[in-house]
């Protein structure tokens, strides 16, 4: 009988992913092995010092959080104002459904009066645009989804 070999590193890696993603459970199976890790409900007290925010208790991540954790989502690299077109009244850099090449400008972030073009990190199709023209954005805010 083959000796059971526990892959502790795999468990640790999954535990790390729980932390990173805010999940409470991960089950991972291949034809050979199946691993499930659980971390019980993050205690409500995490949100103690304030009256619970409107979405408190909702176990699911907010849409913004979901979008931000999607690897296809391009998030803002800086605080600033997002512009979808090169100048007021001009046509937008990209529209939903457009095919873009890696490096093509998706939008502009203005910060400190400097216009910073945001290039597409990979080629693909624009599936979603999360921001409006002229909208202030913070660091890490989801901007656009390119699949």
């Amino acid at each position: 009988m083959p000796k059971f070999s526990l892959d502790a590193a795999l468990v640790r890696q999954l535990a790390g992913l729980l932390d990173e993603t805010g999940l409470t459970e991960i089950e991972y199976a291949t034809s050979d092995v199946r691993v499930r890790v659980v971390r019980q409900g993050v205690p409500i007290s995490v949100t103690a010092p304030l009256a619970p925010p409107p979405n408190a208790g909702a176990p699911a991540a907010t849409p913004a959080e979901q979008a931000a954790s999607n690897p296809d989502t391009v998030t803002s690299p800086m605080v600033g104002t997002a512009y979808l077109s090169p100048e007021p009244g001009a046509r937008p850099f990209v529209n939903i459904g457009d095919t873009v090449r890696q490096g093509q400008t998706l939008l502009i972030i203005e910060a400190m009066k400097v216009m910073n073009p945001l290039p597409a990190p990979k080629s693909g199709v624009v599936r979603q645009i999360f921001v409006r023209d002229g909208q202030p954005v913070e660091f890490g805010e989801p901007l656009i989804c390119v699949e």
Partner: protein, 449 residues
């Protein structure tokens, strides 16, 4: 008055500034790194903006990000807090150039006081006492013996390029001087490749005593008395008290009058602190901090003056509206710094706060951003709470501190609370009999025991 202020800091000081704003009816904008999204001040602020990843250089020290956050939220003014950009004169200027009010001193004053040599020259010009010494490096031709005699023994021979105790030698009398000079010179040569040395009066057991200043930049300047911050470990203050157990009313009035005169001449605006070494009845200026200090609450309590509120009022163009004669010193206050560190090894202890219960009752103030369930990020400094207690007398204050430390619960991480509980039993501390070296010895003795 301002309608909205951006708080360019984190932790307990960001919360402190938020509270002052709310009490003035001013809205707050918290800026934070991704590591601080759940921080107390972020949750309490009217608005918050994530300005970057955890590393301070990319967030709390990221000037473009902070100014952009100020722009998109439309604030009137920026309060820099303590640390990070609080003493960055360039930042202060940029804040103003971008049309925001800087809640702090004139950038020019930040700049001059931020340079040790320029600061010393400036305060000598302003009439404040400094540590006497050679005006520059002493060369082989100088009459070092005469200079040393004029300074008064013991004297310190110090490498010009030095630091960290290297290339520093003490001569206790004329008979030691030659040897000290040659040793310091050869160490200086070995370590810094430069054998130039300075001479300075040596203070063997000084106290660290600092004076809280508040000016309106329109001629009004007061001081809020001194704080005794001698209890330090590796230059980190662990406990501060006001008034100092070592000073009497005449000494306080005398140094206060000189400081006021100097600050009035300078035209200083906002809160600031003059730090001195104090030994045998004499004060020696070491540096000026052109910002709020962590230990400001003890001065607030003995004077009844809210320093952060005053900073904001003054930045908005307000005048002090009262003079030194209106500042009444009453009672005694002590602040203990509670760090997320092992109380004996001082190893940092970030992590999740499993239990939190702050002390309450009369004469107790807690400035802390902790809450049950909060996770202290490993990225920033370890100060997690300031416990400030007040009493009509120093003894009442000490008894209250003991009682408050008994009540304070912070679970899930190591903190310096046990160290403070031991400190409050130490006869030297209870007698007010300590200097800047005392705590190091206490901690060392404690660990050996």
């Amino acid at each position: 008055m301002f309608e909205k202020i951006l708080i360019a800091n984190r932790g307990e000081i960001a919360l402190r500034i938020h509270r002052a704003c709310r009490e003035l009816g001013i809205q707050t904008v918290a800026v934070h790194s991704t590591a601080d999204a759940d921080a107390m001040h972020v949750r309490l602020a009217d608005e918050s903006v994530c300005i970057g990843p955890p590393a301070p250089r990319q967030s709390y020290l990221n000037i473009p990000a902070i100014l952009s956050a100020a722009t998109i939220t439309g604030v009137d003014a920026i309060h820099p807090g303590v640390g990070f950009l609080a003493e960055n004169a360039d930042f202060a200027e940029m804040v103003q150039e971008h049309g925001f009010t800087w809640i702090g001193p004139e950038p020019e004053h930040i700049r001059v006081m931020g340079d040790k040599i320029a600061a010393k020259r400036k305060v000598i010009e302003l009439g404040l006492p400094t540590v006497p010494g050679s005006d520059g490096p002493v060369g082989p031709d100088d009459d070092v013996a005469a200079l040393a005699a004029s300074l008064g023994y013991p004297v310190l021979v110090k490498a010009a390029g030095g630091g960290g105790g290297k290339g520093m030698k003490v001569a206790h009398g004329p008979e030691d001087l030659d040897q000290a000079l040659s040793l310091a010179r050869s160490e200086a040569k070995a370590f810094f490749g430069n054998d130039m040395v300075y001479l300075e009066k040596f203070l063997g057991k000084p106290r660290h005593i600092e004076l809280q200043i508040l000016g309106d930049g329109q001629g009004g300047v007061i001081h809020l008395g001194e704080r005794d911050c001698s209890l330090q470990r590796r230059h980190q203050k662990l406990l501060e008290e006001a008034p100092s157990p070592a000073l009497n009313a005449e000494e306080r009035a005398a140094i206060g009058a000189r400081a006021l005169e100097a600050m009035r001449t300078l035209g200083y605006r906002s809160a600031g602190t003059l730090e001195f070494l104090y030994e045998d009845g004499h004060f020696y200026f070491i540096e000026m901090n052109t910002r709020l200090q962590v230990e400001h609450p003890v001065s607030e309590w003995i004077t009844g003056i809210d320093l952060v509120r005053e900073q904001i009022r003054i930045a908005a163009g307000g005048r002090l509206g009262f003079g030194q004669e209106d500042v009444r010193f009453q009672g005694h206050a002590i602040e203990v710094r509670i760090n997320a560190e092992h109380p004996e090894t001082f190893v940092p202890s970030p992590g999740r706060i499993s239990d939190y219960h702050a002390p309450g009752g009369p004469g107790v103030r807690v400035d802390s951003h902790l809450y049950q369930g909060y996770r202290i990020p490993p990225t920033y400094d370890s100060l997690v709470s300031k416990l400030i207690v007040y009493g009509a007398t120093r003894n009442e204050c000490l008894m209250r501190l003991r009682r408050a430390l008994e009540e304070y619960v912070i679970g899930g991480i190591e903190t310096t609370i046990p160290l403070h509980r031991k400190l409050i039993q130490a006869p030297d501390f209870l007698n007010g009999d300590y200097d800047i070296h005392w705590l190091e010895r206490f901690v060392a003795g404690d660990r050996a025991a």
